[in-house]
Amino acid sequence: MSESVLLALNIGWGTTLAIKTVVVLAFIPAAALILGYTFLLKMMSHMQSRLGPMDPGGFHGWFQLVGDGIKFMQKEDLMPAEADRRVFALAPAVIVISTFLVFVVIPAGPRIVVQPLDVGVFYALAVSSLSVIGVLMAGWASANKYALLGALRAAAQLIAYELPLVLAVVGVVVQAGTMNLQGIVLAQQGGHIFGWGGIGNPYILTQFVGFGLFMVASQAELTQPPFDMPVAESELVAGYMVEYTGFRFLFFFIGEFGTAFAFAALAATLFLGGWAIPGVHGTTADVLGPIVLFAKVMFVAFLMFWARFTYPRFREDQLQALAWKWLIPIALVNILATGVLKVWVK
């Protein structure tokens, strides 16, 4: 939401805050549904020859999502007799709030950002790490051993992949000289490739190692295949969310796909130039920026879900070895190389 547009309308900070909150709150389910529909229902059906989701409603199975929605609404709200009621009810909310908070700092245009925090990308990674608490709460409060095992696997995985995720971003922060996401977009827009500034300098050209690390680590943070040990249906039924039904399960679904959208938007902003369009500034960029960012988000999400629908599951030891023995050392070398080049080349 544009600061100056709201100031021009002459409304108080309380109203501004309320408008911003409503905008973000409305955006998350929309983002989750767009990704769920495009990739889970359509792309997966095409790639894996699934006929079911292509059938309802006639053309391309457009009614499937509505049908799923109706199904979730009318399911009974079950809670295990032994469950810790308060923690059980609170867990889905913690996960959705952690997703909600990430969207606050992602800019969609020169003036379209909810709050351009100075700590920007660091804030986004800090609040996204809160979802682990929700996962552990859900797994424990369900009073179910499969749920508890799923939560433990999720926690072990999320702790391990938090490090490469943060370290992958450090290269970008060093090169841009700021953690503010708006600043990172502007640094890419104003950059040069060997003295040629035609398209700026999207950091995927210099930070391609960081981009690869970020994509792998965010895939693991999302507990998507090939990193889906925590929800492995052949071993744990559905892991930490096995006891959740109806609307509460929908919360987990929205949290999962909303976070996928948030990570795709972060990757697009950090590595692909965000909302920026070469040669477009001011109000025009405010209008076109969200469209450009959305296109990039869909591209990054396509890569994420492509991997999700293609690869088989990692074993727990392979998963931990990949994070600690490969991703983290590579990320540290990348930071060192970026730092040396930053001082050397200027």
Partner: protein, 163 residues
């Protein structure tokens, strides 16, 4: 300034209630979850002081990592669903006296040291200012802490090794 004072009061009250919950509950997992509220309140107090970076470090390190490891350790070993009576004991009054004494000592110390200090918080303090302080003014303590943590890490590896 009034808004900050009111916010401080609300946050402080919530933190005290949650902190009492940590020591009064008979369920270890509930204690860890109450601790999340206390630490989140601490982070919010840092934001009231304009220290955004420190606040989010608090969230990432304490809530996102330390509490997660607490919960992970509890759930890996016992994960009790029901209150455990053995967590309670008869030392409530000595504990209350000790807590009040500590609050008095620390409170009077802080008031004595900082009661004239004014912080300008009209603008949040920029991250660059924090990092400049760490890597210029306080570079030696920072490096010493780094070496200390490395020693602790190596010690943990040595203790955990079987051979």
């Amino acid at each position: 300034m009034i808004a900050q004072n009111v916010a401080f009061g609300i946050l402080a009250a919530a933190m005290v209630v949650a902190a009492l919950g940590v020591v009064r509950t008979n369920n270890v997992v509930h204690a860890a979850l109450y601790l999340v509220v206390v630490l989140a309140g601490g982070a919010a107090q840092f934001i009231l002081l304009g220290q955004e970076f420190v606040a989010w470090v608090q969230v990432l390190v304490y809530i996102g990592a330390v509490i997660v490891l607490f919960l992970f350790g509890i759930m890996l070993t016992r994960a009790p669903m029901h209150p455990d009576e053995s967590l309670d004991n008869d030392l409530k009054w000595p504990a209350a006296v000790t807590a009040l004494f500590l609050a008095g000592v620390l409170g009077s110390l802080l008031i004595d040291a900082f009661h004239r200090t004014k912080i300008d918080i009209r603008q949040p303090i920029r991250t660059a200012a924090v990092t400049n302080a760490v890597f210029r003014t306080y570079i030696i303590p920072f490096e010493v802490v780094g070496v200390l943590l490395l020693a602790a890490l190596v010690g943990a590896v040595v203790l955990a090794r079987k051979d």
